[in-house]
Symmetry: none
Subunit: 249 residues, 2 copies
DNA sequence: AAACAATTTGCAATATATTGCAATATTTGA
DNA sequence: TCAAATATTGCAATATATTGCAAATTGTTT
C-alpha cells in the first residue's frame, strides 16, 4: 500500500469522525503505530490536520497559507534570525515588527519558549499558534492587505499600553545621522510607537541597508541597542555604529 | 507495445483505482519497473498524474484544500450563509463575529462588494484579503489560539469605538427567556461589545440551537433583529421569536 | 512520587530511486 | 536503402527513503 493511500485513509476518517487515533489507524492500515505517527506528522506539516497526542484532529480553519509565503531564497535573513534568537529568554515581553526577518525569528523560535509577544503582524501571530507557552497580544487597527499588518492610530495606541523588554524591528534603512527610516509612512509610524515602549531595540538588517535612508523617519539611530547583521559585524561600515554605543553583530 | 499505449493503460488504471503501483504495471505491461518508472516520470512532467514512491496517484486527489472541506457538517451553515448574504449591501459597516458561519459568509461574499468590516477573527480577516474594496478593521487583544479570535478588554474597547450597520453573530444558543448565550466566557463578553454598537443584529443559528442555552450570557433575545436558520423558518419553534418581533428566515 | 502512555531518537533491514551504461530499436537524412 | 544519430529499454551499482523496533525521554494520570 502506498504512503499516499494511507494519507487518504487518514484524511477521510478524519473528515467523518473528526478525529483519528494511532491504534485504530495502525489496525486499519496494517502498519506500525510509528509509521502512522510519521504519516500524521507529515500531514500536519502540510497543514492538512493537527497532530495531537495519540492521534490527530482536523486543522482549525485559518490563515495557514502564511507559512507558504516564507521564501526559501533568504539565507541571509535566516542567519540574522539565528543570531537574534540568542536575545530571547523565557518570560520576556517581546514586540515583533512586521516583515520577513522577524517572521523568520518567530519561525525558528523553540517550541517551548515562554514569551509574551506583542505584534501587529498576521503572519507572525499565525506562526506562533503552535507555541503553547507564547501569549500573543495582537494590535488592532486597519489591516494593510499587502503586508498583512495592522496600522493606524489604534495600532499605535495599542503598543503605547505596553512596556516591552525587547523590540525586534525588521528591515529598515539605518543611517548614522539620518536615523532609522522605512519605506512606508503608516508602518513607520507604528514602528515609532513600538520603539517608544521598548527597553531594548534590536534592528535586523542586512549590511546593504546600513548607511542608507528612506522616506519615513522612525527613530534616531542611537536609540537602537543592537544591530544584527548577516556579516560578522567587525567591518568598517559597522564601526561608526559601534562608536555610538550600539552593539553590532 | 508502444510507449503511448502504456501511457493509456497507466492513466486508465489510475482513473479506475485512484492509484497505480510499479510492480503491478510492470506485470501488466510486460516491461521492467524502470521503464514504468520512466513512463510515470514523463506523465508527471505533463501534469497528468503525481509520481510518488512506489507508483503514482491522480494529480489532484481527494478532499484536500480547505475550500473542498466545506463538506461534512457544513452544508447547513452554507445554507445559512447564502441567506445572510442578502443582507449585506455596499458601503455598510459590518461586524463579523468569529465562528464557522460568519466565515462561510465571508467566503461567499462577492469579490467586488464595498464594505467596512470590523472583526476579531483571523480567518475572516485573512479571507477578505482578496476583496479589494473591503476595508478590514481588526480588533486587537489577546489571541485565543484555539479559535483564532482576539478577546479581552482591548478587544471590547475596540468595538466600542464603532457604530455598525450590521452585526453577524455566529452560532450561539438562543432561548426565548434566557436570551442569547455562548459556550465561552471571553468570547461571549466580546459578543456583548459587538451587539452593543450594532444597529441590526443577525444571528446565524441552526434550528437545533433554538430554545437551548449555554453558560455565558450575551444579550436578551429581543435585541436580535433577525435569526437566520437552515430551515424555512415558519415552523412552530420559530413562532415564539416571531412574536417577539424578530425576523426568522 | 510512582506507574503508565505517548513521543522522540537512533538504528538496521528492506524497498524504492537514481545513475551510468550497454544492447536494441527507431528515426533521420543523404 | 543504408548508415549514422537518437531514443528506448533493461540491468547493475549506488544512493535515498521507508519502515519497524528498542532505548531513552517526555507527558499524563493515579
Amino acid at each position: 500500500m502506498l504512503k499516499e493511500e494511507r494519507f487518504q485513509v487518514i484524511l477521510n476518517q478524519l473528515n467523518t469522525d473528526q478525529k483519528v487515533q494511532l491504534a485504530g489507524l495502525s489496525n486499519i492500515l496494517q502498519v506500525s503505530e510509528d509509521t502512522v505517527r510519521r504519516d500524521i506528522k507529515e500531514l500536519a506539516e502540510q497543514g492538512l490536520l493537527k497532530s495531537v497526542r495519540g492521534g490527530a484532529i482536523p486543522h482549525s480553519p485559518g490563515p495557514h497559507h502564511f507559512k507558504d509565503r516564507i521564501g526559501y531564497g533568504n539565507e541571509k535573513k535566516q542567519i540574522i534570525a539565528n543570531k537574534a534568537l540568542g536575545f530571547l529568554k523565557d518570560d520576556q515581553v517581546v514586540i515583533f515588527d512586521g516583515g520577513t526577518s522577524p517572521l523568520l525569528i518567530a519561525q525558528s523560535l523553540p517550541k517551548d519558549i515562554r514569551l509574551t509577544v506583542v505584534t501587529n503582524s498576521f503572519p507572525i501571530a499565525s506562526i506562533l499558534e503552535e507555541h503553547e507557552k507564547v501569549e500573543v497580544l495582537f494590535a488592532g487597527g486597519r489591516l494593510m492587505k499587502k503586508s498583512f499588518v495592522t496600522v493606524g492610530s489604534d495600532t499605535m495606541h495599542f503598543f503605547a499600553k505596553f512596556r516591552a523588554d525587547i523590540c525586534l524591528m525588521g528591515i529598515c534603512s539605518i543611517h548614522p545621522e539620518l536615523g532609522v527610516t522605512g519605506p512606508d509612512y503608516e508602518e513607520s509610524e507604528v514602528k515609532k510607537a513600538m520603539v517608544d515602549v521598548s527597553k531594548e531595540i534590536i534592528a535586523l538588517s542586512t549590511v546593504e541597508k546600513l548607511g542608507t535612508a528612506e522616506g519615513f523617519y522612525v527613530c534616531p539611530t542611537d536609540q537602537l541597542t543592537t544591530i544584527v547583521t548577516d556579516q560578522t559585524g567587525d567591518s568598517d561600515d559597522c564601526k561608526v555604529y559601534r562608536d555610538m554605543g550600539i552593539h553590532v553583530i
